[in-house]
Symmetry: C2
């Protein structure tokens, strides 16, 4: 049976970097009971002055690209730099939360054994929006508990990447060492929002293919990049042979240093916080309408009427709001 702590106990434990309290607080944040939600909001309010001091890095890439291996090796590197690391998963379909592949479990176990490393998979069965909102809150709890480097893992169809983009300082896109026609699966929308690209598995017989892929992406990106953005860097790496990870770590640091220098880092962070407030406000305003059972039946009925062109979308809204 889980013990509910008091607000002071949560705050004290997190401020003291007690991992057991942090885990309990995350459980509280993820709870759907009204009392827990009330308490979790008060907890966040109390922790606000302590947040914002970490580097937040999003890592995204399609299944099979080697995300778990990359994050594990990269996490070890971060750990070797004496930085307290927390790894969070956003997407419920990610290998981290499914844990269906034995190899992943072993590798994550590697990371978990290190001191000052905290790994939190996302709760299964939640929808993306929900998980993303909770992940943001979990991120703040980790910062308040003194974690200095946060890795937010995501995999998905674009929506989860945008959610992650809105909570990190740097979004790293992992791509496989494929060339030519095999490159097809690439999502342009994700490149648009990523701050850096790493070609994974650049080892053994893949080295040449990885280099060629990096060159192709660089060339395509130089044509397709926007004016108002620094050129996205493309690097190759091998988590297996531990090659290229340090270079990626350094380039992320350089990016953040330059963003702090020109002030974008701070305006981005402020904007993310305020954006979060508006998102939450709009979510709650519409949610209270949409979650009403009698409204649900009405909405489904009006969808059919609109589809059949019996009523206009505006006419349906007028009736729904009366």
């Amino acid at each position: 049976m889980k013990k509910r702590l008091t607000l002071d106990e949560y705050v004290d434990g997190i401020v003291k970097a007690d991992i057991r309290t942090l885990s309990q607080a995350i459980t509280l944040i993820e709870s759907k009971s009204p009392a827990d939600i009330e308490l979790s909001i008060s907890l966040l309010d109390h922790l606000m002055p302590r947040i914002g001091k970490s580097i937040r890095v999003g890592v995204t890439g399609a299944p099979g690209v080697g995300k778990s291996t990359f994050i594990t090796q990269f996490g070890k590197l971060v750990n070797s730099k004496k930085l307290k690391l927390a790894v969070l998963a956003v997407d419920p379909s990610s290998s981290m939360s499914r844990g269906s592949i034995m190899g992943d479990k072993t590798r994550m176990a590697d990371l978990l054994q290190l001191p000052n490393v905290f790994v939190r998979p996302s709760p299964a069965g939640n929808n993306l929006g929900g998980v993303a909102r909770k992940t943001r809150e979990v991120m703040l709890l980790c910062e308040a508990a003194g974690f200095e480097y946060l890795i937010i893992e995501t995999v998905g169809t674009g929506q989860s990447e945008i959610a992650v983009k809105n909570m990190v300082d740097f979004l790293l896109l992992l791509l496989p060492p494929l060339g030519g026609d095999e490159l097809q699966g690439f999502k342009k929308g994700i490149v648009e929002i990523s701050d850096g690209i790493a070609i994974t598995k650049s080892d053994g017989k893949n080295v040449q293919a990885a280099k060629a892929a990096a060159e192709e992406y660089r060339s395509a990106l130089s044509i397709l990049s926007s004016n108002n953005k620094e050129q996205v860097g493309v690097k190759t790496c091998s988590a297996l042979e531990n090659i290229g990870l340090d270079s990626i770590f350094k380039s992320i640091n350089e990016f953040i240093r330059s963003q702090k220098k020109n002030g974008h880092f701070f305006t981005n962070r402020d904007g993310q916080l305020i954006n979060w407030m508006h998102e939450e406000l709009k979510h709650q305003l519409t949610n209270s309408f949409y979650s009403d059972k009698s409204k649900k039946i009405l909405i489904a009925d009006f969808e059919k009427q609109v589809e059949k062109k019996v009523i206009s979308p505006h006419g349906a809204v007028r009736k729904l709001l009366n």
Copy 2:
């Protein structure tokens, strides 16, 4: 002084394809008076059974790419195919609505002189969201009045393109005949959602550059395209010399024929209508909150508190909703 018609007069006039009534109905749709809004919703409800029978094409591109010239020449082509054409502008900063360039006015005048052509610039001074919403309604009025080919013009930073994408069957992206480093300005996000690309001004000394640009885009797109989408076609054209427009017209027709065959055309249309209802519902639910004067002051105050980390985003929302 503008005469207000009765609902029956509006409906009858539009069904009879009376352009004067259509214009008056558009003015009604664009009005912000509560009585006009009420009447316009009833009008849309009455016209719903008559909508959805046109081909809707969005045309987008950066300023200077030659959008007005393209639309004028393309519009003449559509007109020559005996199709009733309506041209609507979404973005308030578009050359059509600003009319700041003399050349544009003359060219649009060319189009306006043709029979069965209706050109409607967007009202100046409206924000994007507003214009986009009204454009959708104006589009329906035009369909109800028997227009068979609709061109929705937009220019912008991505947001207006997404709004247009959500109301058309085909989004055409116009790009300039530039090569190499000059291609930098290209927005990847817009390519992601476009159904076809045309390189403009492929005439005189630009022909080679236009061909080279088309080749570069084709190559970049073959690397960067998504799996789940048909390859986006890249064509060159000259509105000045009337070259390539017929090929673009045909490829749009082919795209729509294939989309009708596999059913995507209809599911897309149904989805757009239902999406429109939900957008409008959410807009009105949040708008009634955000437009309240006392709430505005509170929101601005909470933004500052959140930025200063005095309160969490969730804490601010809790207070705002109590």
